[in-house]
């Protein structure tokens, strides 16, 4: 469980995170979405005790991370795959990292095999591709078998096979009951990765809901009817948002085409056209974060 409450952080005059509140639940893969510079990385760094919050709190498993003597059994993180010394072999790097938390060599060997670096374990990291470094970073995050996992843009630099592998891993980790929190600035990356979303823009929370709902509330249905006045009243009464377009058609959001059809039938309003306009996730994201598509 990750909890962020009224979190703010400024760097000089620039606001990085602005009164941010959200919760990330265990057992699901939660996407952390926002354009570049939205404050994702700052939030993750505060969560992991690397930066001090300006105000508010950020906790993992109910505790401030900085107060833990050792971290790997509480949370695993991959912030930047380049956060490793190129002069060491993958094995040496991981062995020393594991040792800080009293984790033995067997676990290191097993993980290197699991992430597919078993054959290159003794090669120096400076010769690794970004994808191989991502795998090494993921192995590091998994060392302590932690209940909470945080990843900052983990799909960067991965080939399609790697992306598939990482997604499978995330789903498996979530199915085991772990909290999996994955940041990205690309909505499309989240489509087959996350079930829940935390969306932020300019340091503020924009949405915290399931991916389906996030897409749904930002889709609309176009309706043509000879009696737009009555239908609009009925739909608004049922909780929909209705906008009257210049051509006389109604643009309805907040409800599905089926719901609209049923309501029209129940109120005996004839429909001449009922056309759902499913926003792509990317469109929904652009609209939500206020960026021009």
């Amino acid at each position: 469980m990750i909890e962020v409450r009224k979190l703010s952080k400024r760097y000089g005059d620039a606001v990085a995170v602005d009164d941010l509140t959200f919760t990330v639940r265990p057992g699901r893969v939660t996407g952390f979405l926002g354009p570049n510079g939205a404050g994702k990385t700052t939030t993750l760094r505060i969560l992991l005790g690397l930066c001090e919050p300006g105000s508010g709190t950020a906790t993992i498993g109910g505790r401030r991370y900085r107060e833990l003597p050792r971290g790997l059994r509480h949370a695993g993180a991959l912030l930047d795959a380049r956060d490793v010394h190129g002069g060491r072999s993958a094995l040496d790097h991981l062995t020393a990292l594991a040792r800080t938390n009293g984790i033995g060599a067997t676990r290191v060997r097993d993980l290197l095999d699991e992430v597919g670096l078993g054959d290159v374990a003794k090669r120096r990291v400076q010769g690794f591709s970004l994808g191989m470094r991502q795998r090494l970073g993921i192995a590091g995050a998994l060392l302590g078998d932690p209940p909470v996992l945080l990843f900052d843009e983990p799909l960067n630099g991965l080939d399609p096979e790697g992306v598939k592998w990482v997604r499978g891993l995330f789903h498996r980790m979530a199915a085991e009951g772990r909290t999996v929190f994955v940041s990205s600035h690309l909505m499309s990356e989240m489509e087959h990765t996350a079930t829940d979303l935390i969306v932020i823009g300019r340091g503020r929370l924009i949405a915290a809901e399931t991916l389906e709902r996030f897409r749904g509330t930002r889709s609309s249905v176009t309706v043509r009817t000879p009696d737009p006045g009555t239908l609009a009243e009925v739909l608004i009464g049922a909780g929909g948002t209705v906008r009257r377009r210049d051509d006389g058609e109604l643009s309805v959001s907040g409800m599905s085409a089926e719901e609209i059809g049923d309501l029209a039938f129940a109120s005996s309003v004839p429909l001449h056209r009922l056309s759902p306009l499913t926003a792509s996730l990317e469109d929904a994201f652009m609209r939500a974060t206020g960026e021009n598509p």
């Binding site: 690397l50 956060d83 938390n101």
Partner: protein, 264 residues
């Protein structure tokens, strides 16, 4: 889960030796230092008859100068300075520091482990090159009966100043590394302030003499090297030891404070 500090020490020990450049730097610099000092002793040996009768009667100051020459001292400072800075710059410049602090949120413990491993290795190195140089050079000088013994008056203190210069240099370089964080910047600042400044400051003006006496290199010269000629502003070896202690304490305090406060 119990957090054993010993595990941090072992991890830092592994990190220290798992970089190839570390071993090479230690080996090559130690060989260079031994060679330079032995060469100096050998020259004094072959030119022994050209020294004045007084000098030959009491060869102590020359024998001690050969035991660890100023140029070998600068070689030690450069090699150990690069390694001491590398312990932290290697983490900051690559971003490894974040991986480290996510694994061990207790930053004071990380820095303490780094400091202890660094002090242990460099003290060992200081012992090998300091005592090794002394024994090798005095054996050479014994060819004319001019070599000193480790137990001779004043010798233990002078050799100790050389041995401890290695860990002191490492500490200072590590503090520079924490402040600057970039490899080239750190090394430039370190070489300028720690090595070249004391060479440039003269003894004639009170201000420059005072400033120069505040540098570890001049403190080492004061304790380990025999003073030649009269100096307008003399000082005691105890003053030199004080300089050692102050630089060590300030470096440790800076390292711990800055690392604990900084955002990473």
């Amino acid at each position: 889960m119990t957090a054993h500090f010993r595990d941090l020490l072992v991890a830092e020990w592994m990190k220290w030796w798992s970089l190839r450049s570390t071993t090479w730097t230690l080996l090559l610099s130690a060989l260079t230092i031994l060679t330079v000092n032995c060469w100096s002793a050998y020259n004094d040996l072959t030119n022994f008859e050209r020294f004045s009768a007084d000098a030959r009667a009491d060869f102590t100051r020359y024998a001690m100068s050969d035991a660890f020459t100023p140029s070998s001292c600068l070689a030690l400072m450069l090699a150990i300075g690069a390694l001491g800075a590398g312990v932290v710059v290697g983490e900051y410049s690559t971003g490894l520091i974040r991986t480290t602090f996510v694994a061990v949120p207790s930053r004071a413990a990380v820095i303490a482990a780094k400091l202890l491993v660094l002090l242990a290795v460099t003290t060992g190195y200081g012992l090998i090159v300091g005592v090794g140089s002394f024994l090798a050079t005095q054996t050479i000088l014994d060819g004319k009966g001019a070599g000193l013994e480790l137990s001779d008056p004043g010798v233990p203190e002078q050799v100790l100043a050389t041995v401890l210069l290695a860990p002191l240099t490492a500490l200072v370089a590590m503090a520079f590394g924490i402040l600057v964080r970039h490899s080239i910047g750190t090394l430039t600042a370190f070489v300028l302030a720690f090595m070249l400044l004391p060479l440039a400051l003269g003894e004639d003006l009170y201000a420059t003499a005072l400033l120069s006496h505040a540098t570890p290199y001049r403190a080492w010269l004061r304790i380990a090297d025999i003073q030649f000629g009269d100096q307008p502003y003399p000082w005691t070896p105890a003053g030199g030891w004080t300089v050692y202690a102050v630089w060590a304490a300030v470096s440790i305090a800076l390292a711990v404070t800055v690392v604990r406060r900084r955002d990473h």
